[in-house]
Symmetry: C2
Subunit: 199 residues, 2 copies
Amino acid sequence: MAGKAKHRQPIIDAAVRLFRQQGYAATGLNELVDESGSPKGSMYHYFPEGKPSIAVAAVEEAGRRVVETLETLAGKSGSTGDLLRSHAALLAGWMEKSGFRDGCPMTTVLLELAPGNFEVAEAGRHAFAARHEVLAEKLRADGMSDGDAERLAMLCTNAMQGSLVQARVERNRRPIVETADLLAELIEARIADQPKGRA
Amino acid sequence: MAGKAKHRQPIIDAAVRLFRQQGYAATGLNELVDESGSPKGSMYHYFPEGKPSIAVAAVEEAGRRVVETLETLAGKSGSTGDLLRSHAALLAGWMEKSGFRDGCPMTTVLLELAPGNFEVAEAGRHAFAARHEVLAEKLRADGMSDGDAERLAMLCTNAMQGSLVQARVERNRRPIVETADLLAELIEARIADQPKGRA
Protein backbone atom coordinates (compact mmCIF):
# COMPACT_ATOMS: atom_id res chain seq x y z
CA MET A 1 0.00 0.00 0.00
CA ALA A 2 2.86 2.39 0.78
CA GLY A 3 3.96 2.14 -2.83
CA LYS A 4 0.59 3.25 -4.04
CA ALA A 5 -0.02 5.88 -1.33
CA LYS A 6 2.59 8.12 -2.88
CA HIS A 7 0.29 8.73 -5.84
CA ARG A 8 -2.65 10.14 -3.92
CA GLN A 9 -1.20 13.60 -3.32
CA PRO A 10 0.10 14.06 -6.90
CA ILE A 11 -3.42 13.37 -8.18
CA ILE A 12 -4.90 15.97 -5.84
CA ASP A 13 -2.17 18.49 -6.73
CA ALA A 14 -2.83 17.96 -10.43
CA ALA A 15 -6.56 18.41 -9.84
CA VAL A 16 -6.01 21.68 -7.96
CA ARG A 17 -3.85 22.97 -10.82
CA LEU A 18 -6.11 21.90 -13.68
CA PHE A 19 -9.44 22.77 -12.05
CA ARG A 20 -8.05 26.21 -11.18
CA GLN A 21 -6.93 26.89 -14.73
CA GLN A 22 -9.67 25.33 -16.84
CA GLY A 23 -12.42 24.16 -14.53
CA TYR A 24 -13.78 20.79 -13.45
CA ALA A 25 -15.89 19.74 -16.43
CA ALA A 26 -13.17 20.56 -18.96
CA THR A 27 -10.65 18.35 -17.14
CA GLY A 28 -10.77 14.70 -18.13
CA LEU A 29 -9.64 11.81 -15.95
CA ASN A 30 -6.92 10.93 -18.47
CA GLU A 31 -5.58 14.47 -18.30
CA LEU A 32 -5.47 14.20 -14.51
CA VAL A 33 -3.55 10.93 -14.74
CA ASP A 34 -1.06 12.41 -17.23
CA GLU A 35 -0.59 15.63 -15.27
CA SER A 36 -0.07 13.78 -11.99
CA GLY A 37 2.37 11.27 -13.43
CA SER A 38 0.49 8.50 -11.62
CA PRO A 39 -0.45 5.13 -13.00
CA LYS A 40 -4.07 5.02 -14.08
CA GLY A 41 -4.94 2.38 -11.49
CA SER A 42 -4.08 4.70 -8.64
CA MET A 43 -6.89 7.04 -9.66
CA TYR A 44 -9.49 4.29 -9.14
CA HIS A 45 -7.69 3.03 -6.05
CA TYR A 46 -7.78 6.34 -4.19
CA PHE A 47 -10.93 7.77 -5.67
CA PRO A 48 -13.25 4.81 -6.23
CA GLU A 49 -16.21 7.18 -6.27
CA GLY A 50 -14.75 8.95 -9.27
CA LYS A 51 -14.23 12.50 -10.36
CA PRO A 52 -16.62 14.20 -7.89
CA SER A 53 -14.61 12.78 -4.99
CA ILE A 54 -11.44 14.22 -6.57
CA ALA A 55 -13.21 17.61 -6.63
CA VAL A 56 -13.89 17.32 -2.89
CA ALA A 57 -10.24 16.48 -2.19
CA ALA A 58 -9.07 19.32 -4.46
CA VAL A 59 -11.27 21.90 -2.72
CA GLU A 60 -10.05 20.67 0.68
CA GLU A 61 -6.42 20.83 -0.44
CA ALA A 62 -6.85 24.29 -1.99
CA GLY A 63 -8.53 25.51 1.18
CA ARG A 64 -5.65 24.19 3.31
CA ARG A 65 -3.11 25.97 1.11
CA VAL A 66 -4.92 29.31 1.27
CA VAL A 67 -5.14 29.09 5.06
CA GLU A 68 -1.46 28.13 5.32
CA THR A 69 -0.45 31.06 3.11
CA LEU A 70 -2.62 33.48 5.05
CA GLU A 71 -1.32 32.23 8.40
CA THR A 72 2.29 32.62 7.27
CA LEU A 73 1.62 36.14 5.99
CA ALA A 74 -0.39 37.04 9.09
CA GLY A 75 2.61 36.14 11.25
CA LYS A 76 4.72 38.67 9.34
CA SER A 77 2.07 41.40 9.03
CA GLY A 78 1.62 44.20 11.52
CA SER A 79 -2.07 44.69 10.75
CA THR A 80 -4.95 43.33 8.69
CA GLY A 81 -4.20 45.99 6.09
CA ASP A 82 -0.60 44.74 5.78
CA LEU A 83 -1.86 41.17 5.54
CA LEU A 84 -4.30 42.02 2.74
CA ARG A 85 -1.65 43.96 0.83
CA SER A 86 0.97 41.25 1.10
CA HIS A 87 -1.54 38.57 0.13
CA ALA A 88 -2.58 40.64 -2.88
CA ALA A 89 1.05 41.07 -3.96
CA LEU A 90 1.53 37.30 -3.77
CA LEU A 91 -1.70 36.54 -5.68
CA ALA A 92 -0.89 39.17 -8.31
CA GLY A 93 2.56 37.65 -8.82
CA TRP A 94 1.10 34.15 -9.24
CA MET A 95 -1.52 35.43 -11.64
CA GLU A 96 1.05 37.26 -13.77
CA LYS A 97 3.34 34.24 -13.82
CA SER A 98 0.49 32.05 -15.11
CA GLY A 99 -0.51 34.52 -17.83
CA PHE A 100 -3.63 35.24 -15.73
CA ARG A 101 -4.79 31.64 -16.08
CA ASP A 102 -4.62 30.88 -12.39
CA GLY A 103 -6.97 32.28 -9.82
CA CYS A 104 -8.81 31.02 -6.83
CA PRO A 105 -8.23 27.27 -6.75
CA MET A 106 -11.73 26.62 -5.48
CA THR A 107 -14.09 29.10 -7.09
CA THR A 108 -14.48 27.52 -10.53
CA VAL A 109 -15.13 24.06 -9.10
CA LEU A 110 -17.59 25.45 -6.56
CA LEU A 111 -19.48 27.38 -9.22
CA GLU A 112 -19.65 24.31 -11.43
CA LEU A 113 -20.65 21.78 -8.78
CA ALA A 114 -22.16 23.45 -5.71
CA PRO A 115 -24.80 23.26 -4.43
CA GLY A 116 -25.78 20.25 -6.58
CA ASN A 117 -22.94 18.22 -5.12
CA PHE A 118 -23.37 18.46 -1.35
CA GLU A 119 -19.91 17.16 -0.44
CA VAL A 120 -18.20 19.70 -2.69
CA ALA A 121 -20.33 22.52 -1.29
CA GLU A 122 -19.49 21.45 2.26
CA ALA A 123 -15.76 21.28 1.46
CA GLY A 124 -16.06 24.83 0.13
CA ARG A 125 -17.98 26.02 3.16
CA HIS A 126 -15.34 24.65 5.54
CA ALA A 127 -12.51 26.08 3.45
CA PHE A 128 -14.08 29.55 3.46
CA ALA A 129 -14.80 29.35 7.18
CA ALA A 130 -11.14 28.50 7.92
CA ARG A 131 -9.99 31.35 5.71
CA HIS A 132 -12.39 33.79 7.39
CA GLU A 133 -11.06 32.74 10.78
CA VAL A 134 -7.46 33.72 9.93
CA LEU A 135 -8.61 37.16 8.81
CA ALA A 136 -11.04 37.56 11.71
CA GLU A 137 -8.28 36.79 14.20
CA LYS A 138 -6.09 39.48 12.66
CA LEU A 139 -9.00 41.94 12.70
CA ARG A 140 -9.65 41.23 16.38
CA ALA A 141 -5.95 41.81 17.06
CA ASP A 142 -6.42 45.19 15.33
CA GLY A 143 -9.10 46.01 17.88
CA MET A 144 -12.25 45.01 16.01
CA SER A 145 -15.23 43.57 17.86
CA ASP A 146 -16.04 39.89 17.23
CA GLY A 147 -19.06 40.71 15.09
CA ASP A 148 -17.23 43.27 12.98
CA ALA A 149 -14.26 40.97 12.56
CA GLU A 150 -16.48 38.17 11.21
CA ARG A 151 -18.28 40.44 8.78
CA LEU A 152 -15.13 42.15 7.53
CA ALA A 153 -13.36 38.82 7.11
CA MET A 154 -16.16 37.61 4.84
CA LEU A 155 -16.17 40.87 2.89
CA CYS A 156 -12.40 40.68 2.33
CA THR A 157 -12.58 37.07 1.14
CA ASN A 158 -15.47 37.82 -1.21
CA ALA A 159 -13.82 40.92 -2.63
CA MET A 160 -10.45 39.28 -3.20
CA GLN A 161 -12.14 36.36 -4.96
CA GLY A 162 -13.99 38.75 -7.24
CA SER A 163 -10.76 40.62 -7.93
CA LEU A 164 -9.20 37.45 -9.34
CA VAL A 165 -12.01 37.16 -11.89
CA GLN A 166 -11.54 40.83 -12.80
CA ALA A 167 -7.76 40.32 -13.15
CA ARG A 168 -8.40 37.45 -15.57
CA VAL A 169 -10.55 39.48 -17.91
CA GLU A 170 -8.25 42.51 -17.72
CA ARG A 171 -5.10 40.38 -17.90
CA ASN A 172 -3.73 42.78 -15.33
CA ARG A 173 -2.71 42.67 -11.65
CA ARG A 174 -4.35 46.04 -10.96
CA PRO A 175 -7.77 44.76 -9.75
CA ILE A 176 -6.12 42.51 -7.14
CA VAL A 177 -3.78 45.14 -5.75
CA GLU A 178 -6.35 47.95 -5.81
CA THR A 179 -9.04 45.85 -4.14
CA ALA A 180 -6.69 44.95 -1.29
CA ASP A 181 -5.51 48.56 -0.96
CA LEU A 182 -9.03 49.88 -0.72
CA LEU A 183 -10.12 47.20 1.76
CA ALA A 184 -7.08 48.06 3.89
CA GLU A 185 -7.99 51.77 3.80
CA LEU A 186 -11.62 51.10 4.72
CA ILE A 187 -10.64 48.81 7.57
CA GLU A 188 -8.11 51.31 8.89
CA ALA A 189 -10.75 54.06 8.80
CA ARG A 190 -13.23 51.83 10.62
CA ILE A 191 -10.67 51.05 13.32
CA ALA A 192 -9.93 54.76 13.71
CA ASP A 193 -13.68 55.49 14.01
CA GLN A 194 -14.21 52.91 16.76
CA PRO A 195 -14.70 54.30 20.25
CA LYS A 196 -12.16 51.81 21.64
CA GLY A 197 -10.06 51.40 18.49
CA ARG A 198 -6.37 50.99 19.04
CA ALA A 199 -5.45 53.08 15.99
CA MET B 1 -34.31 35.12 -42.60
CA ALA B 2 -36.88 36.77 -40.36
CA GLY B 3 -38.27 33.35 -39.56
CA LYS B 4 -34.89 32.17 -38.39
CA ALA B 5 -33.88 35.39 -36.60
CA LYS B 6 -36.40 34.67 -33.88
CA HIS B 7 -34.28 31.76 -32.67
CA ARG B 8 -31.10 33.72 -31.95
CA GLN B 9 -32.25 35.26 -28.69
CA PRO B 10 -33.73 32.03 -27.24
CA ILE B 11 -30.37 30.33 -27.81
CA ILE B 12 -28.54 33.13 -25.98
CA ASP B 13 -31.11 33.10 -23.17
CA ALA B 14 -30.71 29.35 -22.77
CA ALA B 15 -26.92 29.72 -22.72
CA VAL B 16 -27.09 32.39 -20.01
CA ARG B 17 -29.32 30.13 -17.92
CA LEU B 18 -27.36 26.91 -18.36
CA PHE B 19 -23.85 28.42 -18.13
CA ARG B 20 -24.90 30.23 -14.95
CA GLN B 21 -26.21 27.07 -13.33
CA GLN B 22 -23.73 24.41 -14.45
CA GLY B 23 -20.94 26.15 -16.36
CA TYR B 24 -19.81 26.22 -19.96
CA ALA B 25 -17.98 22.91 -20.34
CA ALA B 26 -20.79 20.89 -18.76
CA THR B 27 -23.36 22.30 -21.18
CA GLY B 28 -23.60 20.45 -24.47
CA LEU B 29 -24.83 21.95 -27.75
CA ASN B 30 -27.75 19.52 -27.80
CA GLU B 31 -28.78 20.67 -24.33
CA LEU B 32 -28.68 24.28 -25.54
CA VAL B 33 -30.87 23.42 -28.51
CA ASP B 34 -33.38 21.58 -26.32
CA GLU B 35 -33.47 24.30 -23.67
CA SER B 36 -33.93 27.05 -26.26
CA GLY B 37 -36.65 25.23 -28.17
CA SER B 38 -34.89 26.14 -31.43
CA PRO B 39 -34.32 23.89 -34.41
CA LYS B 40 -30.77 22.54 -34.45
CA GLY B 41 -29.97 24.31 -37.72
CA SER B 42 -30.45 27.73 -36.13
CA MET B 43 -27.51 27.07 -33.80
CA TYR B 44 -25.14 26.67 -36.74
CA HIS B 45 -26.81 29.51 -38.61
CA TYR B 46 -26.34 32.11 -35.89
CA PHE B 47 -23.20 30.76 -34.32
CA PRO B 48 -21.17 29.30 -37.17
CA GLU B 49 -18.04 29.60 -35.06
CA GLY B 50 -19.54 27.23 -32.53
CA LYS B 51 -19.83 27.10 -28.79
CA PRO B 52 -17.16 29.72 -27.91
CA SER B 53 -19.10 32.33 -29.89
CA ILE B 54 -22.23 31.45 -27.89
CA ALA B 55 -20.19 32.07 -24.74
CA VAL B 56 -19.30 35.55 -25.99
CA ALA B 57 -22.95 36.32 -26.75
CA ALA B 58 -24.03 34.94 -23.37
CA VAL B 59 -21.52 37.06 -21.45
CA GLU B 60 -22.61 40.14 -23.41
CA GLU B 61 -26.27 39.40 -22.74
CA ALA B 62 -25.66 38.72 -19.06
CA GLY B 63 -23.68 41.95 -18.79
CA ARG B 64 -26.53 43.92 -20.40
CA ARG B 65 -29.04 42.44 -17.98
CA VAL B 66 -26.95 43.28 -14.91
CA VAL B 67 -26.51 46.86 -16.09
CA GLU B 68 -30.22 47.18 -16.86
CA THR B 69 -31.14 45.85 -13.41
CA LEU B 70 -28.65 48.15 -11.69
CA GLU B 71 -29.83 51.19 -13.66
CA THR B 72 -33.46 50.49 -12.77
CA LEU B 73 -32.58 50.06 -9.09
CA ALA B 74 -30.29 53.13 -9.14
CA GLY B 75 -33.21 55.24 -10.37
CA LYS B 76 -35.24 54.19 -7.32
CA SER B 77 -32.40 54.35 -4.76
CA GLY B 78 -31.55 57.42 -2.72
CA SER B 79 -27.89 56.49 -2.29
CA THR B 80 -25.29 53.92 -3.26
CA GLY B 81 -25.97 52.13 0.01
CA ASP B 82 -29.66 51.83 -0.88
CA LEU B 83 -28.74 50.60 -4.34
CA LEU B 84 -26.43 47.91 -2.96
CA ARG B 85 -29.02 46.77 -0.44
CA SER B 86 -31.84 46.57 -2.96
CA HIS B 87 -29.62 44.75 -5.46
CA ALA B 88 -28.61 42.29 -2.76
CA ALA B 89 -32.25 41.65 -1.84
CA LEU B 90 -33.02 40.93 -5.50
CA LEU B 91 -30.01 38.63 -5.95
CA ALA B 92 -30.75 36.82 -2.70
CA GLY B 93 -34.34 36.25 -3.83
CA TRP B 94 -33.22 34.84 -7.17
CA MET B 95 -30.66 32.62 -5.50
CA GLU B 96 -33.19 31.25 -3.03
CA LYS B 97 -35.71 30.62 -5.78
CA SER B 98 -33.14 28.60 -7.76
CA GLY B 99 -32.13 26.51 -4.74
CA PHE B 100 -28.82 28.44 -4.79
CA ARG B 101 -27.99 27.12 -8.23
CA ASP B 102 -27.99 30.51 -9.90
CA GLY B 103 -25.36 33.14 -9.38
CA CYS B 104 -23.45 35.58 -11.46
CA PRO B 105 -24.34 34.77 -15.04
CA MET B 106 -20.82 35.54 -16.23
CA THR B 107 -18.38 34.38 -13.57
CA THR B 108 -18.36 30.64 -14.24
CA VAL B 109 -17.90 31.11 -17.99
CA LEU B 110 -15.17 33.70 -17.47
CA LEU B 111 -13.30 31.46 -15.04
CA GLU B 112 -13.53 28.54 -17.44
CA LEU B 113 -12.57 30.39 -20.63
CA ALA B 114 -10.74 33.66 -19.88
CA PRO B 115 -8.05 34.64 -20.59
CA GLY B 116 -7.45 31.73 -23.01
CA ASN B 117 -10.36 32.87 -25.16
CA PHE B 118 -9.66 36.53 -25.90
CA GLU B 119 -13.16 37.37 -27.14
CA VAL B 120 -14.81 35.97 -24.03
CA ALA B 121 -12.35 37.85 -21.81
CA GLU B 122 -13.05 41.08 -23.68
CA ALA B 123 -16.82 40.57 -23.41
CA GLY B 124 -16.32 40.14 -19.66
CA ARG B 125 -14.12 43.22 -19.41
CA HIS B 126 -16.70 45.37 -21.17
CA ALA B 127 -19.54 43.95 -19.08
CA PHE B 128 -17.70 44.68 -15.82
CA ALA B 129 -16.76 48.18 -17.01
CA ALA B 130 -20.40 48.99 -17.78
CA ARG B 131 -21.45 47.65 -14.40
CA HIS B 132 -18.77 49.67 -12.62
CA GLU B 133 -19.96 52.80 -14.40
CA VAL B 134 -23.52 52.52 -13.02
CA LEU B 135 -22.14 52.20 -9.49
CA ALA B 136 -19.51 54.89 -9.99
CA GLU B 137 -22.17 57.33 -11.18
CA LYS B 138 -24.22 56.71 -8.05
CA LEU B 139 -21.11 57.11 -5.89
CA ARG B 140 -20.30 60.44 -7.55
CA ALA B 141 -23.87 61.54 -6.91
CA ASP B 142 -23.24 60.66 -3.25
CA GLY B 143 -20.34 63.11 -3.27
CA MET B 144 -17.42 60.79 -3.96
CA SER B 145 -14.45 61.96 -6.02
CA ASP B 146 -14.00 60.38 -9.47
CA GLY B 147 -11.06 58.27 -8.33
CA ASP B 148 -12.79 57.03 -5.20
CA ALA B 149 -15.98 56.29 -7.12
CA GLU B 150 -14.09 54.11 -9.63
CA ARG B 151 -12.27 52.18 -6.94
CA LEU B 152 -15.33 51.65 -4.77
CA ALA B 153 -17.40 50.57 -7.77
CA MET B 154 -14.87 47.85 -8.52
CA LEU B 155 -14.71 46.78 -4.88
CA CYS B 156 -18.50 46.51 -4.68
CA THR B 157 -18.70 44.44 -7.87
CA ASN B 158 -15.92 42.12 -6.74
CA ALA B 159 -17.39 41.67 -3.27
CA MET B 160 -20.92 40.99 -4.52
CA GLN B 161 -19.58 38.42 -6.99
CA GLY B 162 -17.70 36.67 -4.22
CA SER B 163 -20.80 36.73 -2.03
CA LEU B 164 -22.70 34.71 -4.64
CA VAL B 165 -20.10 31.94 -4.43
CA GLN B 166 -20.32 32.01 -0.64
CA ALA B 167 -24.15 31.87 -0.81
CA ARG B 168 -23.91 28.78 -2.99
CA VAL B 169 -21.74 26.84 -0.59
CA GLU B 170 -23.76 27.97 2.43
CA ARG B 171 -27.09 27.53 0.63
CA ASN B 172 -28.09 30.71 2.38
CA ARG B 173 -28.89 34.32 1.42
CA ARG B 174 -26.92 35.69 4.37
CA PRO B 175 -23.54 36.27 2.62
CA ILE B 176 -25.21 38.34 -0.11
CA VAL B 177 -27.22 40.53 2.22
CA GLU B 178 -24.44 40.96 4.79
CA THR B 179 -21.83 41.82 2.17
CA ALA B 180 -24.06 44.55 0.72
CA ASP B 181 -24.90 45.87 4.19
CA LEU B 182 -21.26 46.13 5.20
CA LEU B 183 -20.27 47.76 1.90
CA ALA B 184 -23.08 50.28 2.38
CA GLU B 185 -21.86 51.06 5.93
CA LEU B 186 -18.25 51.47 4.82
CA ILE B 187 -19.25 53.74 1.94
CA GLU B 188 -21.47 55.83 4.19
CA ALA B 189 -18.60 56.21 6.70
CA ARG B 190 -16.22 57.22 3.91
CA ILE B 191 -18.66 59.84 2.65
CA ALA B 192 -19.05 61.20 6.17
CA ASP B 193 -15.24 61.34 6.56
CA GLN B 194 -14.75 63.29 3.35
CA PRO B 195 -13.90 66.98 3.78
CA LYS B 196 -16.52 67.94 1.21
CA GLY B 197 -18.85 64.97 1.72
CA ARG B 198 -22.55 65.69 1.38
CA ALA B 199 -23.47 63.39 4.22
